[in-house]
Amino acid sequence: MIMRISDLKTNFPTPDGIVRAVDTIDLSIRDTETFGLIGETGCGKTVLGLTIMRLLHPAATMEGEIIYKGKNLLEASEAEMRTIRGREIAIILQNPTTSLNPVMRVGEQIAEAIRLHQGLNKKDAAAKAVEMLDAVRIPSPSQRANEYPHEFSGGMKQRVMIAMGLACNPSFIIADEPTKGLDVTIKAQIVELMKEMTERKAMLLITHDLSVARELCDRIALMYAGELVEYAPLKGIFESPLHPYTRGFLGSLPERGLVPIPGMSPSLIDFPDGCRFHPRCEHATEVCRREHPELVEFNAGHFVRCHHARS
């Protein structure tokens, strides 16, 4: 168990009210597994990733515990966090085009991570950067390392982002929509690369792309309106989904008919009473409108938050 998150709440005070972006989340991630966190835009999944890194706006408040290798990250000092970021826990960002500094050579940007943590000199770090570029299969890496980001294509920039994230050999990786904005063939390549590079590492994959999650993940959690509504091993989610939201999400896959989930995800300030999904749920009954369901273990390792889970 490399990370255990318990009772985590992340709130943002705003003039319109408190945004409860992450609301009482419990989950644990094992040493070498890939854990998929899936949900619609605005359900709080990126905030969860940033909470782990402690990179939220200073006004945000966090409660609960994030135990990483026996240490509560929410109590770590900023200096401690700096030694953890990049070295222990790395993030692979979306938007590779804007995540690279346009006036810095690509090799230098990868070397930066290495130099920050491993105290290598400039030359060794540069050599390591070329090695990383080679590892993410960029052709002629030593030449490419001296080029600027604008000389790279989108897919190659995403490879550079992966190289940056993995440069210090972190044991935990947060990948936030690593395939966003890539076309299908490039996406397949990146997924393949990530699969290979993170085989012996723990990874939290944040995405709304179920096809990517299916390729990479061992377990999957679905997040809706700041809370987890179902989590289970990959097979459990795809073969016997229990929550109507999960079923809706699966139904929106292209091969399952591209059926959208009706309605919009609720604002994170003002949740509906009872089950947060009930206004969009076709099975909703009186109890759903009244009572907020608990997350219960339905089968071994398969948790769901629904009053009608047996249906």
Binding site: M53, L55, M81, R82, T83, I84, R85, G86, R87, A90, I91, L93, N95, T98, S99, L100, N101, P102, V103, M104, Q109, E112, A113, L116, H117, M161, M164
Partner: protein
């Protein structure tokens, strides 16, 4: 001809002018025919001995103008380097840290911006002992303001760039991020500010010295101008042609040099202007 080319020509011209001036300033003792403080016969007309004649106390005017290059450029560079460094640092702090520091710095900037710069400089300079160090100090006090404002607004957009966030996620400290990721991105702006400020200071210094607020010992072009202006026969004879015109032309040339280089650089470095540059005119 495209505008880009026009700018390149002007830029090179400006660079040429500045290069000549810098060489003249550095090698003034070798170039100047006489010691500018040595007195000869007064009010001589130009001759092969004194190419620009002598002034009311008998100094060789050509030597005075050549040594004046030193004083004018020295003041301009000292002020620009210090003021731009201060402005850039404060702009970086204000833009990056936000909060109380930003509020304080920007309110001070606002106050300075509402004060008419030259008028206050004249008032302050009038009360201070005449020395070039005091002049430099006064110009620095007012020189950092615009840079701080410009750098801050650039930092505001830069600090939200994903690559800054990405550096933080790799474990970079604030100082590291400022130094490695933000500063290199504001350098082009800062360079242009530096050039423009140097041009401003040349004019302002000439103005103050012309009003008699300059250092009477280290004579800049403005000081020469000032003494020429006090000469009662300046306009009734043709003395102005060799006493007043040469330092005046030097001031104009220097300012043009700085301005040309500044514009050419700005157009090169600012991608927003570049799209316009591509058009034929």
């Amino acid at each position: 001809m495209t505008r880009m080319k026009v700018n390149d020509v002007l830029g090179s011209l400006g660079l040429g002018i500045l290069a000549i001036l810098v060489v003249v300033a550095i090698f003034a003792p070798q170039i100047a025919p006489y010691d500018p403080h040595h007195t000869y016969k007064r009010m001589e007309r130009p001759s092969s001995e004194h190419l620009l004649g002598t002034n009311d106390i008998g100094n060789d005017i050509l030597s005075e103008v050549i040594y004046g290059t030193r004083v004018s450029l020295f003041i301009a560079f000292m002020v620009s380097i210090t003021a731009i460094t201060i402005g850039t640092s404060l702009g970086l702090i204000a833009g990056y840290s936000g909060g109380v520091a930003e509020f304080m710095i920007m309110r001070i900037v606002d106050i300075f911006l509402t004060i008419p710069r030259l008028v206050l400089i004249i008032v302050i300079a009038a009360f201070m002992p005449r020395s070039i160090w005091n002049l430099i100090a006064v110009f620095i006090i007012f020189g950092w303001v615009m840079t701080a404002r410009i750098v801050r607004s650039e930092v505001l957009t830069l600090r939200n760039q994903y690559y800054v966030e990405s550096a933080r996620m790799l474990g970079g400290s604030n100082l590291y991020i400022l130094w490695r990721h933000i500063l290199p991105n504001v350098i082009p702006l800062v360079v242009v500010q530096f050039i423009m400020e140097a041009g401003h200071v040349i004019v302002a210094e000439a103005g103050l010295s012309f009003l008699g607020l300059g250092d009477p010992v280290a004579r800049s072009w403005g000081t020469t101008f000032h003494y020429a202006f006090e000469c009662p026969t300046l306009y009734t004879s043709d003395v102005w042609m060799w006493w007043m015109l040469p330092p005046g032309l030097c001031i104009v040339a220097t300012v043009l040099g700085f301005t040309f280089v500044g514009y050419a650089l700005e157009e090169r470095l600012n991608p927003k202007l570049k799209t316009v540059v591509g058009m034929e005119i």
